[in-house]
Structures are given as C-alpha cells and as structure tokens.
Amino acid sequence: ACGEGGAEEKTDASGSDSGSSNSDDVINIVWYPNESGNDLKASRDEIGAIIEEATGKTVEHQLTTDYAIAIETLVNNNAALAFMGAVGYIEAKNGNDSIEPVVVQSGASGTLDDAIYYSWLAVDVDAQDDFKIDGEFSLDTLEDKRMSFVSNSSTSGFVVPSSTIIDYFADSSDYSDLTPEDLMEGGSLFSQVLFGNSHQGSAVNLINGNADVAAFCDGCVENYVEVAEGEENTAGAVYRVIEGAAEPFNTVEGEEFILMSVTPVLNAPIAANLEVIGEEDFKKVQEALASDDTANNEGIFVPEDSEEKGLFSKSDQERFVPVEDDWFNPIRELSNK
C-alpha cells in the first residue's frame, strides 16, 4: 500500500516513482544534470506532453545530479528514454545493445548535415598571450595550466577536447603516451584539473579565475554570452557575458573570454531503450518528435529572440531528425583511441 499516487503527480524535481518504470503505462525519461534545472522545466514538460500524446502513456521525468547515473539508468532498463550526449549514448550502447538513438537536433538547415555544435577551449582575454606562441594559439602552452572540464562523461566537455589534446601531444616526446586518465587528474599535463559538473559550471570556473583554461560547448552557454569580437565559433573569437545573464553568470556580467580552440561535435541524441519502450512505442515517439509540430513548438525550439529559456534554440529550420546508430561512428572512433 506504500507509495501510491505516484502516477498522477509529476513533480519534476522529485524524480519519479521508478517502481512503475517496469509497468506498461509509464515512460521514464532521464535528463542529464545540464537539463535538470528548474528553468528548463517547461521545455521538458513540452517534450513529455508530445510523448504522452503519441503513446497514450504517462511520462515521468527523472532528474539527475550526474552523468554516470543517467547513463546507467538507461542501461539497466530503469528508463525508456534519455536525452544524452553523443559519448553518453555510445557508452550506453556499449552497456546495452538494445539502446538506439531516436532523434537528434538538426542544424539550422533542418538536416543532419550541420547537426553539430562546438566544443571550445576558452581562456581569459587578458591572459591570452600566455597561450600563444608566435602570436598563434598553441596547445603546447597548456602544460602546467589549471584546466576545467565538464565531467568525464561529457562529449564536448571532456571526450572531444581531451582527445584533441592527446592527439596533439602524441608527437611530442614528453607527453607521447598521455591517456585520458592522465588528463582527469592534475600532475601529469595540467597542474590541476577541475570538473564543473555542467558546461555552465566549467565556464564559471574560467571566469572566476579558478581555472586558466576551460572546456565547454557553444550551445550550452549561448543563453548567457554574446560575440564581442571575431567570428562565431572560430579560434580567436571573444565572447562577453551579456547584461542581465541568468545564474550562474549573473555575478560575472560583462566578463570576457577568448576561444583558443574550437572542435565540431555531433549533436546530442534522445536515445531509447528498446527493451523497455518496445518497438511500437519507439516508432510512435520517433515520429512524433520528428514531426513539424514539434519543430514549431516554441517551448522546445525557442526562437532566438525570445526571452524564454528552452532546451534548443531556433534560428532557422532546426528540428528533430531520426538517426541511426552509425551516425555516431566518428565520435566512437574518437573515444576508442
């Protein structure tokens, strides 16, 4: 008799009654910490509503405080859907073969061709000269610096930048056998390594001066910063925190940072565990998410000039596009190295 009344209550922050995750009329969606904030609640609920409508089942949101838990929840059949990074998806797929991608967010063109975002390595504008050799940004300068990543399961916040760095140093004699583990802890290449636990957190580490270099992605901070100088998503571009930026940037309005390295990354998928959701519902969800209605839902794809905050922003033709597992092979190769 304990634990009744879970189904009709949908309080975001309280997670959900996973007791019913195995029962047939509930679909659990796991969200990464990045998307677990109260400010994105409306957006999450919109997606939930679409899925509820498509499948006729109740959707429950599960909010997490770390990446690993989110991934494992999907792997261990304790959730049907998860919005996760590309690397997270690949790890999940390794752990459980019945996990498949449902959709990814397209690029501005509305197709998969530009379904990418960018992983940045950013440094303080005033300290940029410390990272330049002969006037050019060089990764050689990273030695003994204080580094901030997002989390070691983050695609653009760890896996991509760390493999970029390892590739770069592979030719150097001192650091030729650098491993991703070495980059997780201070002492080998970096003097200290911090984890911000979110892209915002990593960025704040840099702006606060707790780190010299920080890795984070463009999309995750686009609500808070604007280009001050140079061309978007290119090395040397300077970004400034906008006036009236929401937390956590509210204390650092007007501060600037400069990009020293920019790497494109595949967009994050919504993934499903087929064992849990079933073939039939999988199709329904995929269809519903990829529909024009969803693409035009301003709660999910928030117009760029809107005040509202949402999971995705819309500048042109952005929408959800169905994908196959193969599409992630480039990232898979990166993390296999």
């Binding site: 304990c2 634990g3 879970g6 770390d66 690993a68 261990n76 070691n152 583990e181 802890e185």
Partner: protein, 261 residues
C-alpha cells in the same frame, strides 16, 4: 503510580506505535516509496555488484595513485578531527553548565555548536567549494566544521558528567578557574574526549568519501572520477581500500578505548 497511570502508560505505548505507523505511511506516500519494489531491488543490486564491482589486475595498476589519495583523506580526517577537538574542548568548557564562566559565553558556544552540527556536511561542502575552490583545505574545512558541532555536544556531555565534587574540593584549596579546569575537569573527561575524537576520525574517514565527491578532494575525488568514467573495477578497488582503512582504524580505536577507560 496508580492503576490509572498504569493504563495511561499502556495507552501511550499504543499511541506511540500508531504514530510511528502513520508517519511511515505518510512518508512513503510523499516520497513515493514502494516497499515491495524496494525489496525486489536487492537481487538486481547484488547481481550488479558481482558482475561489475570486481577488482581486476588492470585496476590494480592504479593502486599507487589511489593510495596517495587515500593518504590525503586519512590525514584530512585526522587533522580535521584533532583541530576540531581542540576548539571543541574550549567550546565544551564554555558551554558546559558546570564549568561555564558566564551565560553569554555558554550560549555562544552552544549556538556555534548547533549551527555547525545542524547544517549538514553536504551543505558545508558545497558552500566552501564556492569560496575555497577545489583543494584539500576545502575538504578539511568541511569535515572540521561538522566535527566541531558534534564534538562540542559530546564534550559538553562528558564534562557535565564529570564528578563535581573534586571541583568543589579544588575551589576550597584556593585554586584558580583554569587550574580547576585543568586539574579536576580535564583529567576526568580526558578518556571520553579521546574516545570521542577517535570516533570522529572514523566518522570523518567515512564521510570523506562524500565530502571528497563534493569538494573534489582525496579518495572521494578518485572514487567520483572512476565512477563517472564507469570504470567500476577501479571503483571496487577504491572501495576496498576505504573498507580496509576504516576497519583498521576502527580496530585501533577500539583497542585504545578499551585500554584508557
């Protein structure tokens, strides 16, 4: 006690258990806790443990780094406990109703203790992380503050329990306040004080994992790191080292406790 009171006691017992049961039901409905489901989680949890949490040879290679971190944690726990004990001893003497100098100090000491004890260590860790950044000192401070709260309460009780008669006797010889504290009160409470400090070290090593996760220091940081990279074999190794350490320290402090009391 009349028969009426006797019945009243029985009635109170019944009421007590009813309250417990009602509270349990309310709690499970608020937290959406399903008792049956929680029982069924055990098999899957233990299957998971046995299929994932295995120490492999490869994870063994990481032992040196792990031990360094463990070392940091142990020192952090000890330093936090002893420095906290020193401060708490002072606060305890101030706060105890038998040795207090005056009510103002006594209230201040108790308020400090209450504040540091009742704000959970998690909260302290997160608060300190914001200001101090990610280093040993943050972890140390988080443990320190929690320890001060707990130890002050424990010390106040130990000092209250100390036999007051010798305090009276020393006053009668013309001894000063500090002489009385150091000659009559401390010697009596010292075994208790040491015993609580040892207990605090044990507790702090346990909480160091959590505090480490939150503040990115010591063994908790390694734990978090490997856990997040889903390298469960190394997680198992780390856990194993923690378990060994905690048990060793527990054995050691049990021994000391037995000898000194």
């Amino acid at each position: 006690m009349s028969e009426k009171k006797f019945r009243q006691k029985k009635w109170q017992t019944t009421l007590f258990f009813t309250v417990i049961i009602v509270v349990t039901f309310i709690s499970s409905s608020i937290t959406k806790f399903n008792f049956i489901h929680s029982m069924t989680t055990f098999p899957s949890a233990f299957t998971w443990i046995f299929s994932n949490l295995m120490i492999t040879e490869e994870s063994f290679k990481k032992l040196p780094t792990i031990l360094t971190k463990l070392n940091e944690t142990i020192f952090m726990a000890i330093a936090a406990s002893t420095t906290a004990a020193a401060l708490s001893l002072f606060l305890g003497v101030m706060g105890s109703k038998t040795t207090k100098v005056n009510n103002v100090f006594s209230v201040i000491a108790r308020v400090i203790a209450s504040f540091s004890r009742n704000i959970p260590i998690v909260a302290w860790a997160l608060i300190l992380l914001i200001s101090f950044g990610q280093n040993s000192l943050t972890g140390f401070l988080a443990l320190f503050i929690g320890s001060v709260g707990f130890l002050t309460r424990a010390f106040i009780e130990s000092i209250d329990e100390a036999d007051q008669s010798s305090v009276e006797a020393l006053t009668a010889t013309g001894a000063t306040y500090f002489q009385i504290i150091s000659k009559a009160v401390i010697p009596q409470s010292l075994p208790q004080i040491i015993s609580w400090t040892l207990f605090m070290i044990e507790t702090n090593i346990r909480s160091a994992t959590l505090v480490g996760i939150l503040t990115g220091t010591g063994i908790g940081y390694s734990f978090d790191l490997y856990y997040k990279s889903m390298d469960y074999n190394t997680v198992a190794l780390i856990t194993f080292t923690i378990v060994i350490t905690v048990i060793l320290i527990e054995l050691m402090s049990n021994y000391i406790r037995k000898v000194i009391i």
